[in-house]
């Protein structure tokens, strides 16, 4: 796409993204409110004792005594003003709560994503180039293996091997608390903690990208323009890099956009296994505790991430592929 058309393209995509997010907000609200069990009874249960007055107080405080459409209107209005509400259970603004947890999730999913894409595309390209040979077989088998293994199980096994038996890497948390590390030492410390969870989360998607890259590269290799390149004497290495890989990456980009949501979902499992302080675990805990504002906030936040990510991949796609005008 030509750069001059970019602002219009972006504006259209943004409008669409906002509409999608709005729909998600409304749907999530109804979904979560369809759940039995209201936050007041949960809090009462966890306080260890309760009486009807206490319950009544809590319900009023949470606005649970209002009619549903009023609750929805209040929620949508506040989301539009970027106020995600207040978690009465946590006694904190939801936005603040999520903001605290978000960096950890972004770090984890970002690292896993980078690992998966870079590793997957490299392995996939390698396999496609050596199709039918042992390297291809090995990569294919490995990819299938990671593809077929439950994510959380991989996490458990990695912990078993690297933390329990070898004692090389920490098995949980995001940093060593109490050591007062700063600067580079802190970064290294976090990196050490990040390694296993990112690996766990990334392996499955690495397999996905490896398989996808291999398949699309094989497909692109058969296309006419590759034959043209060959006919004009372009060396094989350059054909792979400049012609095949670039075209094969287009579906990978599309797929990465779709995968963003799955990655956030997968991080719930990984964050649970590795005690990673991110929003995936926050969501699961909020669900168990029926903390509606937090749950709605996390859903809102993840869908915004996914929508933004889709937007970014669309943009990337549009920049890579000149054929995209509007779609």
């Amino acid at each position: 796409m030509e750069l001059g058309k970019l602002p219009g393209f972006l504006a259209r995509r943004l409008v669409k993204a906002v509409l999608v997010v709005l729909a998600i907000v409304v749907c999530n609200f109804f979904l979560v409110h369809a759940a039995p069990g209201d936050p007041a009874s949960v809090m009462a249960g966890q306080a260890g004792a309760a009486d009807p007055l206490f319950l009544e107080q809590l319900r009023r405080q949470f606005g649970l005594d209002q009619p549903m459409h009023v609750q929805l209107w209040i929620y949508v209005r506040s989301v539009l003003s970027l106020d995600l509400g207040f978690s009465h259970r946590q006694q904190m603004g939801v936005a603040a709560l999520i903001a605290e947890r978000l960096p950890a999730t972004l770090l984890l999913t970002g690292a896993a994503f980078a690992f998966a894409v870079v590793g997957g595309v490299t392995l996939g390209a390698l396999a496609a180039q050596r199709v039918g040979r042992w390297a291809d077989s090995l990569i294919t088998v490995l990819a299938l293996t990671f593809y077929a293994t439950p994510l959380f199980w991989v996490g458990l096994m990695l912990v078993l091997v690297f933390s329990v038996w070898l004692e090389w890497l920490p098995s949980f948390g995001m940093n060593s608390v109490g050591l007062g590390l700063t600067g580079l030492a802190h970064v290294l410390d976090v990196a050490k903690h990040l390694l296993l969870p990112a690996l766990t989360l990334g392996l499955f998607y690495l397999a996905v990208y490896a398989r996808l890259t291999r398949a699309t590269m094989l497909e692109v290799q058969d296309q006419d323009f590759v034959r043209t390149a060959r006919a004009k004497g372009v060396p094989e290495g350059r054909i792979t890099r400049a012609h095949v890989l670039r075209n094969a990456l287009l579906p990978v980009i599309t797929f990465a956009g779709i995968q963003a949501g799955q990655l956030v979902g997968g991080s719930i499992l990984v964050e649970t296994v590795f005690a990673w302080p991110g929003i995936g675990r926050l969501a699961f805990e909020a669900l168990l505790a029926r903390d509606y504002p937090v749950l709605l906030g996390v859903f809102f936040c993840t869908s915004v991430i996914v929508v933004l990510f889709n937007l970014a991949t669309d943009l990337l796609y549009a920049l890579v592929d000149p054929r995209v005008e509007v779609a």
Partner: protein, 526 residues
């Protein structure tokens, strides 16, 4: 006073540890950071606003009550240095420590105490509301004396003054504000030996030594860090590798305890829960046929092998229940026991109740709402399903989340479930609520099962108003017998929680509140 002696014996190991430490001449060492764990992460750390287990564990380091309790539940001075009770049992006079400061530097006075007891806790905590409603008048003759006059005598009144039940909060930070949303809720300010330093949600809570703490030279530790570790295996690993020096409550799964017990660097204590005395039972909804029939309840009770549960499921952490009142609690009658495990007798009882097995050998089918707090309850449900099958009863498990569990139990929408309640040292405080007719309410932790017996109601009422311990003992013994005969609920076990700590950490469990004490005397040897 047989009860007292029993609990004293039970608490003996803790006392020996302390004595040993002193005897070995290990002088308390100042300095060091204690890293411990936390699960689940509490929503807020302001005691009262939230009274969940994890909140109590942290908040009791920052807040203190007037009293604490020994393993035999004798009152110990904390913020109150002495107290007197009038002969008619209605007037309680506390003399306060004089140089106590809040973490913000303001002195603690009788005003703060009266505010905490008569305003703050009754507003935010239902349990305090019920009992402090008995206070007719609260007065402060001087800045360091508080006098509470009760409407009627209430023998267990002192038990309410522990830091976990009625911590003293700063009046100047709450008065006139909504207590639940006051700024101080986010940065708790108390009188305890440690003050709030940092909370990275999902990661850790850090408490630092309060330099102006009223006990000179104490506390010994520089800081305490509570790491949030949601996975039990990670917690175990943290203990083993020394990344954490202390675990408490249900941090460590029972099946991991034997392995940890054998580690030379770790010490496992099972005491320190005398004040709470949690008791677990199968909660039956008496409104659901045929659970309203006492013979059926008796039969189900006999179908359960409590020793198996304690040994196999809890790996010996805990004791089989003997009745509605825990054996570590006051007024437990050790002469009364539950009928033993006897499947044959159970079958006979069910036959007698007219519940004949059908062609598949099934007498009736009931549901079981699995307690969602830890997966051990799922194992228990799976055991119960197999156990009840032996007597022709099919148990269908329903799994649920904490929210639904609380709602369904509160609304009586269940057949059976597991419930466990703290007894707070005294049956009037912790047992009565589950059996009296007046407390049949659509709220969790009331008499949700719907058991009702006028004689039981009368006996609990008598025990409540009697001011003499012996009179109360008699009433509780009678109530115990009635409840066991009716098998009001199927009591399973007296729960214990292992407190596991590094051997270099000293004075961890010294009172009946265990890890819920202030830790001002806890220290790390080098």
């Amino acid at each position: 006073m047989t009860i007292r002696r029993r609990t004293m014996l039970a608490a003996a190991p803790a006392l020996t540890t302390l004595a040993e430490a002193r005897a070995q001449g290990v002088a308390p060492r100042r300095g060091g950071t204690l890293i411990t764990m936390l699960t689940p992460e509490p929503p807020v750390l302001q005691i009262g606003v939230n009274n969940q287990g994890p909140t109590l564990v942290i908040a009791t380091k920052m807040f203190q009550g007037l009293l604490s309790f020994s393993p035999t539940l004798e009152p110990l001075p904390v913020l109150a240095k002495s107290w007197t009770i009038s002969p008619d049992g209605r007037v309680y006079t506390f003399r306060l420590q004089e140089n106590v400061k809040f973490h913000d530097g303001r002195p603690m006075t009788a005003d703060d105490v009266i505010f905490s007891i008569t305003k703050f806790h009754p507003e935010v905590a239902p349990r305090a509301r019920a009992i402090f409603a008995l206070i007719d008048n609260a007065a402060a003759p001087d800045a360091h004396t508080v006098v509470f006059t009760l409407k009627q005598a209430f023998e267990p009144f002192l038990l309410m003054f522990d830091g976990s039940a009625a911590a003293i909060v700063p009046k100047h930070l709450f008065d006139g504000l909504d207590y639940r949303t006051a700024p101080a809720v986010q940065r708790p300010v108390g009188t305890g030996p440690f003050r709030f330093a940092e909370w990275q949600r999902g990661n850790f809570v850090k408490l630092d030594r309060f330099e102006d703490y009223w006990k000179p030279g104490q506390p010994y530790l520089d800081s305490i860090i509570y790491r949030v570790v949601p996975d039990s295996q990670s917690r175990r690993l943290a203990l083993e590798t020394g990344q954490a020096q202390l675990s408490q409550a249900n941090d460590i799964e029972p099946f991991d305890v034997p392995a940890l017990r054998s580690r030379p660097n770790l010490e496992v204590a099972l005491n320190g829960w005398e004040y709470f005395s949690p008791l677990a039972w199968i909660e039956l909804n008496h409104r659901v046929a045929p659970l309203g029939d006492p013979r059926v309840r008796q039969a189900l009770s006999m179908a359960v092998d409590r020793n198996f549960i304690v040994q196999r499921l809890w790996f010996g952490i805990g004791r089989p229940a003997t009745g509605p009142i825990a054996s570590s609690s006051r007024f437990h009658d050790r002469n009364q026991r539950l009928p033993g495990f006897d499947a044959r007798a159970a079958n006979a009882l069910l036959d007698a109740a007219g519940l004949r097995p059908n062609a598949q050998g099934v007498r009736f089918t009931i549901k079981h709402l699995v307690l969602p707090y830890s997966e051990i309850w799922s194992r228990l449900g799976e055991y119960l399903r197999q156990a009840f099958r032996q007597v022709g009863v099919t148990l269908e498990l329903e799994s649920t989340d904490a929210g639904s569990w609380a709602r369904r139990v509160g609304n009586w929408e269940y057949d059976t479930t597991i419930n466990f309640l703290y007894q707070f040292g005294d049956p009037t405080l912790g047992v009565e609520r589950s059996y009296v007719t007046s407390n049949i309410q659509r709220v969790t932790f009331t008499n949700t099962g719907g058991y009702s017996n006028p004689r039981v109601d009368a006996l609990f009422a008598a025990a409540r108003s009697a001011s003499v311990a012996a009179e109360r003992q008699a009433a509780f013994s009678d109530v115990t017998k009635l409840l066991i005969d009716d098998m009001a609920q199927i009591w399973l076990m007296e729960m214990s929680f292992p407190t596991i700590h590094d051997r270099r950490l000293r004075n961890v469990v010294t009172t009946g509140l265990g890890v819920h004490s202030s830790f001002d005397d806890v220290f790390l040897t080098s």
